[in-house]
């Protein structure tokens, strides 16, 4: 039974290609994953390299239960987490208390400002650098939920399965992530005088 299952799975996913072709096939996907979660292109490249070398060591364990790309991203995921922890990015708190944003009467402590013409922002390269810095400040789990949902455009249910959380938890994580991102962009972009 177990054997039949693995045979079926093997027919569904391609074999692991030769390591010499990994960079050309999967390099950009791995790099994008790392760059979205780490701070700089340099760190992203280093982490991709660590993951590729670890994958080389571990390639005997590839059983064809997932797509080679997914298998490589899984290895990269661990390397990225290691690096985030070294850099002092703590796993928690997952969720901010709403009092961080709203006072006792339910009013915004610092009402959102700016955003009058968001379309113009997208044309500025420096803006995307600020976006990246703000993403890098999100706590781990919140960041992962927000990146999977927004950057990767995955449906909420898939993100819940991947992170093993309920839909309610996901909504809270995404809400706090959006509050943080909006606030961070305001502080670092609009109030920095770039917005005009």
């Amino acid at each position: 039974m177990a054997q039949r299952t693995s045979a079926e799975e093997r027919t569904r996913y391609p074999d692991l290609p030769e390591p010499a072709s990994w960079v050309d096939r999967y390099g950009d996907a791995l790099y994008r994953y790392a760059l979205a979660r780490l701070r700089t292109p340099h760190e992203a490249e280093e982490t991709v390299q660590e993951a590729l070398l670890a994958a080389l060591q571990a390639r005997g364990t590839f059983r064809g239960r997932s797509h080679p790309r997914t298998w490589l991203i899984g290895i990269l995921k661990h390397k990225v987490l290691e690096r985030m922890r070294q850099a002092g990015r703590r796993p928690g708190p997952d969720v901010d208390d709403l009092h961080r944003w709203f006072d006792g009467r339910g009013k915004w402590r610092r009402p959102p400002a700016g955003w009058d013409d968001p379309a113009a922002l997208a044309e500025r390269d420096e803006f995307w650098a600020v976006v990246r810095r703000c993403l890098a400040k999100l706590p781990e789990k919140m960041s992962e939920a927000f990146l999977q949902r927004t950057l990767d455009g995955r449906p909420p249910r898939e993100v819940c399965n991947d992170l093993r959380i309920s839909a309610g938890n996901l909504w809270v994580l995404l809400h706090r992530a959006r509050l943080r991102m909006v606030r961070c962009l305001e502080v670092n972009w609009f109030e920095g005088g770039n917005g005009r």
Partner: protein, 80 residues
Amino acid sequence: MMLRCPRASELISQGLDRRLWWVERLRLALHLLGCRSCARFGRAARWLHRELPRAEADDRLSPAARERLRRALSDAESRG
């Protein structure tokens, strides 16, 4: 009961991830009529949700980085 800003901002966010009930949509719409702060948050959150994928659209390994990675892999492979 009038919706207040914390719940309104939650509904704005959830509206990007699920279809809101009509009661929720109605209460949110009423709140937004009188609350410019939440309206602004909504504009910002929707914009982020829609445009963020562009943040990485151009992210590719540079040719130099690609070469470095290839070399690191082939070195490690030849060392066994």
